[in-house]
Symmetry: C2
Subunit: 153 residues, 2 copies
């Protein structure tokens, strides 16, 4: 038997469209700024951040994929580029011969350190400056709920 579609009511429509417009505009702006100022897309910046926070600035490819919410394939291509740029090195994993370890180089760390202030400033300008403290708190709860909901299913 046919299941009726639960269409969006006008309020939900409005919410959904605003959400899509805002999040795309935000990500586009940050991507553009990061590309201009640091020569890398936001996704790559995030990979460097994750590595910089890891013990010895290194992670297994699968751990890095997990930490960054990236597919294995995407990560593989990305790390290849980051390696070509001299920001990351790959090493064999001593405990699992299938494994690869991605390691942030000093040059990668320096590039990240140079890019960080501008990027953070962008996040602040485009996001936090526009919202009240209460809204920031709401956005945190909403985002955490959604993230959990999405990765849980």
């Amino acid at each position: 038997m046919a299941v009726m579609t639960r269409w969006l009511d006008p309020d939900e429509q409005r919410t959904w469209r605003a959400y899509v417009a805002a999040s795309r505009a935000l990500m586009d702006a940050l991507d553009r700024e990061l590309q201009r100022d640091a020569g890398m897309p936001h996704a790559y910046y995030e990979l460097l951040v994750r590595l910089s926070e890891a013990p010895d600035r290194q992670l297994r490819m699968s751990e890095l994929a997990e930490a960054s919410g990236s597919s294995r394939s995407r990560l593989s291509h990305a790390v290849a580029r980051l390696e070509a740029a001299g920001w990351v090195r790959r090493e064999e994993c001593p405990t699992d011969r299938r494994g690869q370890i991605a390691l942030l180089t000093d040059e990668g760390f320096a590039t990240l350190a140079a890019a960080a202030p501008g990027h953070v400033e962008g996040v602040r300008r485009h996001l936090f400056d526009a919202l009240s403290p209460a809204q920031v708190d709401q956005l945190r709860r909403i985002s955490e709920t959604l993230a959990e909901h999405l990765t849980g299913s």
Copy 2:
């Protein structure tokens, strides 16, 4: 004189990371579903929606770009693909000989109509079902504020 970076405090960090994770996961999920079920990415689906809502199901390229928050170049490439798929047709603009009009074909409309229920269901499942009515309202206000803030600057 050097301006100090206004770094993110731990709460802001948490908010920002959750936001990025959630919005990427959400868009990725919808993109994957739409690609699987309708053979088009979410961005193309949105173009068809905008056209379907326009008078006579047609819009000037520049209007469509504006309505969808897309660059002219992106739209040009996108419409070329949509045209190749038979979902959109291009026509000369009678009042401005530089102009092009993008027109949703019957086939495009039918494809859209077939894709809509599944997509709406996905939006509901991934987004609205996870949030309380109050949160949906908060998200609407936040998103509208952000969208305005971003496109205004």
